[in-house]
């Protein structure tokens, strides 16, 4: 059975698209047939982060409105064979998405794919609601910061009340916490919420902690999901999180500040 996984947060700019791209790529690298859908209609960006922006012909709205077939709108990744991307429309607004339209698309994708990842837009309006409506699992992306944690709590409430599973009173959506942009040095200095505090407040299982890393910007500049940068700490942290998602045990890494040698402390030197 295909699993529908929403990557959501409530708050904007916390790393949903970065995480969607990394997770989709990671699952596909492990041989899972994976498709990642951009639900941010009007502000599509997943295509850029995945590096397929030049190849977008049709989008999800074209499919819903019957102007193109799903197969034609899917962009097959050239690096990982089992990975596809369904872009959002850039020219229309969120009202072009309908529940029936999205349902048809997901049902059709479920025949071909193991994982259907939904990159949610920020907020709790139509686009975000549709992105999470069909979810079996949710990856809640949270930054160690008060407003992000509050918005995550809000979105957890929405998952528990307004998802299809909730409406049909089936087993609830399986929730995972993904803490991103984690800066151990600032946490140590007491400037950022501790991991335990976030966990205590949200009390959902921790899937992973992605450190704040320069490699993320580098990855987006070149359109290469950061998980493909196996040397970077963020890439490795995403790979660990994907492994945990698939049921493997992996200790959490990059939780402590890097102890810089005297040399590095004198001359600067930054985290990869």
């Amino acid at each position: 059975m295909a699993q529908v996984v929403v990557v959501t947060s409530g708050k904007g700019g916390v790393g949903k698209t970065t995480s969607s791209a990394a997770f989709a790529t990671g699952l596909a690298q492990r041989g899972k047939k994976t498709v990642v859908i951009d639900f941010d209609v009007g502000l599509r960006n997943l295509d850029l982060i995945m590096g397929v922006e030049r190849r977008v012909v049709f989008d999800i709205v074209n499919v819903i409105q019957g102007e193109a077939r799903l197969n034609q709108a899917l962009i097959r990744d050239k690096r990982v064979e089992t990975l596809s991307i369904l872009p959002a429309s850039q020219t229309r607004d969120k009202d072009a998405l309908t529940k029936e339209g999205v349902q048809k698309i997901i049902e059709e994708l479920a025949k071909e794919f193991d994982y259907i990842l939904c990159d949610s837009p920020a907020g709790i309006e139509k686009g975000a609601l549709l992105a999470l409506y069909f979810a079996d699992q949710a990856i809640v992306v949270t930054n160690p910061e008060v407003s992000s944690v509050r918005d995550s709590d809000r979105i957890l409430g929405v998952l528990q009340s307004r998802s299809k599973r909730a409406e049909e009173k089936r087993d609830p959506v399986k929730e995972h916490l993904l803490v991103t942009r984690f800066d151990p040095a600032r946490v140590e200095r007491g400037e950022m919420l501790k991991l335990e505090d976030i966990q205590e407040i949200l009390s959902i299982p921790l899937l992973g902690v992605i450190p704040e890393s320069e490699s993320v910007l580098r990855a987006s500049n070149t359109g290469t999901p950061v998980i493909m940068d196996g040397e970077s700490n963020a890439g490795q942290a995403y790979a660990d999180a994907v492994a945990r998602f698939l049921g493997e045990e992996k200790p959490h890494r990059f939780l402590e500040p890097e102890r810089k040698g005297l040399f590095k402390r004198l001359f600067g030197g930054r985290a990869a």
Binding site: E53, R54, V56, V57, T91, N221, F267, G268
Partner: protein, 95 residues
């Protein structure tokens, strides 16, 4: 790489910001055109398929449209899978 970079422990890497700028210039050039003019691709495809279907019985599901946007030039490749010769003859006779 200057000696100071060496002491700072920086690795020499191709500057990714340049790649970002180039990618953005290309994609935005195309998007700005799209803002003032309606997207013609869905219609173009429908009409092309209709024309081809007048001559050959094709499966609309086997039409693939591939686009590669470039700075100076873009290529649009439309791939239409034609049925086997036997089926084609039948289709032609049916008309």
């Amino acid at each position: 790489m200057s000696w100071i970079d060496f002491f700072r422990g920086k690795r020499k890497e191709p500057a990714s910001a340049a790649a970002a700028k180039e990618r953005l210039q290309i994609v935005l050039a195309h998007e700005r055109i799209g803002r003032t003019r309606e997207d013609f691709l869905p219609k173009l495809q429908q009409e092309l398929v209709a024309v081809v279907a007048r001559y050959v019985a094709i499966d609309p599901g086997k039409v693939n449209v591939n686009l590669d946007r470039g700075g100076d030039m873009s290529t649009l490749a439309i791939e239409i899978e034609l049925p086997a010769p036997a089926a084609m003859r039948v289709a032609a006779q049916a008309r």
